[in-house]
């Protein structure tokens, strides 16, 4: 049971970060379908940095891992700037741009993997995962990581709810014309929203590949976690406490299925699809009255 708790904690942390990435961008007025792509690029950045240190047999240290996280955050921000420029300045269709970048991201990661490994398209993560390289037992690390992330998420929620910055960010998505009339630049707030979103998505990807045992090898995929995070955002009705509850429910389901289905043969694949089926059933129940920010997806054209 102890490893299930570890798995639940780390999954809550990953889905919480990814859902908040989507939340920040949608709160500021931009539909962000690039969360999954940002996670992929963040995961690749972490893998590239830590692989560079451990390729010659050096043991992974916390310093290497932290550097990997920092680079993942930076790469997440830079990649999301492509979406930001297209959707804010060029008033492009945000859904299509997000999907296009979502197609490019795993390919960039794949090309990068071939580059750094001189020909391989996947890389085993045993030497670069935090849960396998430290003296502490893996599930304890997962619980600590998950707890730290939850505290961080609580801090972000407080920023959105209780600060002037959070109010302006929400206004950029709810009523940008009023925000502009009060003298605040809507473009600036939307860019800041997407910067934070990119940082969180990159960090979520790095945490996933470093601390979740399902990633025994990394091959330019995060198994659609970014899209599940979008579903959790909708189910949580763009409110952080409900998003966390949704993350806990989904993560618990996923962890139990992963933990107990290893002995099943082909039938385990049907069991793996249960979280997606449950999400699909839950979406209609909340979408009916879910109300996102009013001006999300609508480009703001300044005079």
């Amino acid at each position: 049971m102890s490893s299930i708790f570890g798995m639940i904690f780390i999954l809550v942390g990953i889905y919480g970060l990814a859902s908040l990435a989507a939340l920040f961008s949608e709160k500021s007025g931009t539909i962000n379908l690039f969360v999954n792509g940002g996670m992929i690029l963040g995961a690749f950045s972490y893998v590239a940095v830590t692989y560079a240190f451990t390729e010659d047999g050096t043991t992974l240290t916390m310093g290497h891992a932290i550097l990997g996280f920092v680079v993942a955050i930076a790469v997440g921000i830079l990649s999301t700037m492509l979406l930001a420029f297209a959707s804010i300045h060029l008033q492009a269709d945000q859904v299509v741009v997000g999907v296009a970048l979502g197609i490019i991201a795993p390919l960039v990661s794949l090309v990068g993997l071939v580059f750094i490994t001189s020909g391989q398209t996947s890389i085993p993560t045993s030497s670069i995962q935090i849960i396998t390289n430290f003296k502490m037992i893996g599930w304890k690390i997962q619980i600590i990581f998950g707890s730290v992330i939850l505290v961080f998420v609580a801090g972000l929620w407080a920023i959105i709810k209780f600060t002037r910055f959070g109010l302006r960010l929400s206004a950029a998505g709810e009523n940008p014309h009023s925000l502009a009339a009060s003298g605040v630049s809507v473009y600036k707030m939307r860019y800041i929203g997407l910067i934070i979103s990119g940082a969180l998505a990159g960090l979520a990807g790095a945490v996933a590949v470093s601390s979740f045992e399902k990633f025994a090898s990394y091959s330019s995929s995060v198994m659609g976690m970014g899209y599940v995070a979008l579903a959790i955002l909708i189910i949580g009705q763009w409110r952080v406490p409900y998003i966390i509850i949704g993350s806990i429910v989904f993560s618990s389901m996923y962890a139990v299925i992963q933990y107990y289905s290893v002995t099943l043969e082909n039938a385990k694949w049907i069991v793996f699809s249960v979280p997606y089926i449950v999400t699909l059933i839950a979406l209609p129940m909340v979408s009916w009255y879910a109300r996102g920010p009013k001006y999300t997806g609508i480009p703001y054209i300044r005079n």
Binding site: L90, V96, V99, A100, L107, A267, W288
Partner: protein, 393 residues
């Protein structure tokens, strides 16, 4: 007649202005393709160095030197064209269907499962006919789900179709029965092995069937979208849902219907792929990539059924074998860089507003004349002084 409207550009500049305004027209699409190709080529050069030249040569020229490869290209074009038609039908209605992969996969799974339970599954004609019917039916059923969720419950179609893609993948993985543990699902079972529908003697028959089917479907879709009231109403609902509702268009019913049609076309894509080409469904924990490439093709063709065919052929070139050059495991994926960049530049078509080389050259060369002043002088010099609607008197 002289009017006080916004000055028109002189005729010699109209072509350039038309290119650099943010419109979805053929010129901008071509520019997006060229820019996407340029960036993708640069990426290939960064990764492969001098071999990039051979790769590109192999992709675009070498494919035509080998007859079986031409057949492979045409079959790939058919697959992409059906997928792009599925996406295009939804795009015209203002919807985005990125569940083409899952719908095609489920359609193929349903067809294979039905045939396995049939009495005599080895007759080729039975396999092809029953496969066609079940693929269309399976695609319609799976495509109907996001349509109902969208029309009745306003569920975001992107999220619902992504979930369904993964569900379809796991359904196939749970029923894979191929011999030797290969990660595919075919018509055979572990004892008998795979039943091959296509072999070296009838590949051109399969290509011919695919082309015939494509020609029929493209013609039908063109007539429906451009010559029927249903197609007109679909387009209106894509431009303005409120206007469509107020004019009596049954939005909810028709969203479901559009997704069913899209699903049926995705089923045809699955039929082309799993019956006319590969004879098996890949049972790996990943969605088939052709569905995502179809999105780029539909955007390039601006959802026009006839334009989709040459666009699909262009993208099929990228999937052709590269003349025996080893890409280190990237054979099928590296070319997706092209489709990804192209899709991005099509979506960011407003980029062209900011690319004004003529003005840049003028600024650099120190030419201070502003274009619009030149145009006003041009028009004033050509207009009569006395006119009924204003003007100088």
């Amino acid at each position: 007649m002289y009017t006080k409207l916004k000055p028109q550009m002189p005729s010699k500049h109209k072509f350039m202005e038309a290119i650099f305004t943010p419109k979805y027209n053929a010129r901008n699409m071509i520019l997006a393709i060229l820019l996407g190709f340029a960036l993708a080529t640069i990426t290939l050069f960064i990764v492969y160095g001098k071999y990039a030249i051979e790769i590109i040569n192999g992709l675009f020229i070498g494919d035509f030197l080998d007859k079986p490869t031409v057949g492979y290209l045409i079959s790939k074009m058919t697959i992409f064209a059906f997928g792009a038609l599925a996406v295009g039908v939804c795009l015209r209605a203002g919807l985005l269907n990125i569940g083409v992969s899952g719908q095609a996969t489920f359609a193929g799974w349903l067809a294979f499962t039905t045939l396995k339970t049939a009495n005599d599954p080895t007759k080729e004609a039975n396999i092809l006919f029953v496969g066609l019917v079940m693929c269309i039916l399976g695609g319609m059923i799976f495509g109907m789900i996001p349509g109902i969720l969208k029309s009745l419950f306003k569920v975001n179609t992107v999220v619902s179709t992504i979930m369904l893609n993964w569900i379809a993948t796991y359904i196939v993985m749970s029923t894979r029965t191929a011999k030797s543990g290969a990660e595919i699902m075919g018509l055979g079972n572990e004892e008998d092995g795979l039943i091959h529908i296509v072999d070296s003697t009838n590949i051109w028959t399969m290509v011919g069937i695919g082309l015939g089917l494509l020609a029929f479907v493209v013609t039908a879709m063109y007539i429906i979208q451009y010559k029927t009231s249903f197609g007109f109403k679909t387009r209106i609902s894509g431009l303005s849902e409120e206007a469509a509702t107020y004019s009596g268009y049954k939005t909810k019913t028709n969203i479901t219907l559009i997704f069913m049609i899209s699903g049926a076309l995705s089923g045809l894509m699955g039929y082309s792929m799993f019956f006319l080409s590969d004879n098996a469904i890949p049972a790996v924990e990943n969605n088939i990539q052709e569905g995502f490439t179809a999105i780029a093709i539909a955007l390039v063709a601006m959802s026009n059924p006839i334009a989709i065919v040459p666009s699909a052929f262009l993208f099929s070139l990228l999937y052709g074998p590269v003349g025996g050059i080893s890409l280190g495991g990237l054979d099928s994926n590296v070319v997706l860089i092209f489709s990804g960049f192209i899709t991005y530049f099509i979506a960011a078509v407003g980029l062209w507003m900011y690319i004004r080389p003529i003005e840049w050259i003028r600024k650099i060369s120190g030419n201070k004349h502003k274009p619009h002043l030149d145009s006003v002088k041009f028009i004033e010099s050509k207009q009569p002084l006395n006119s009924k609607k204003g003007g100088k008197k």
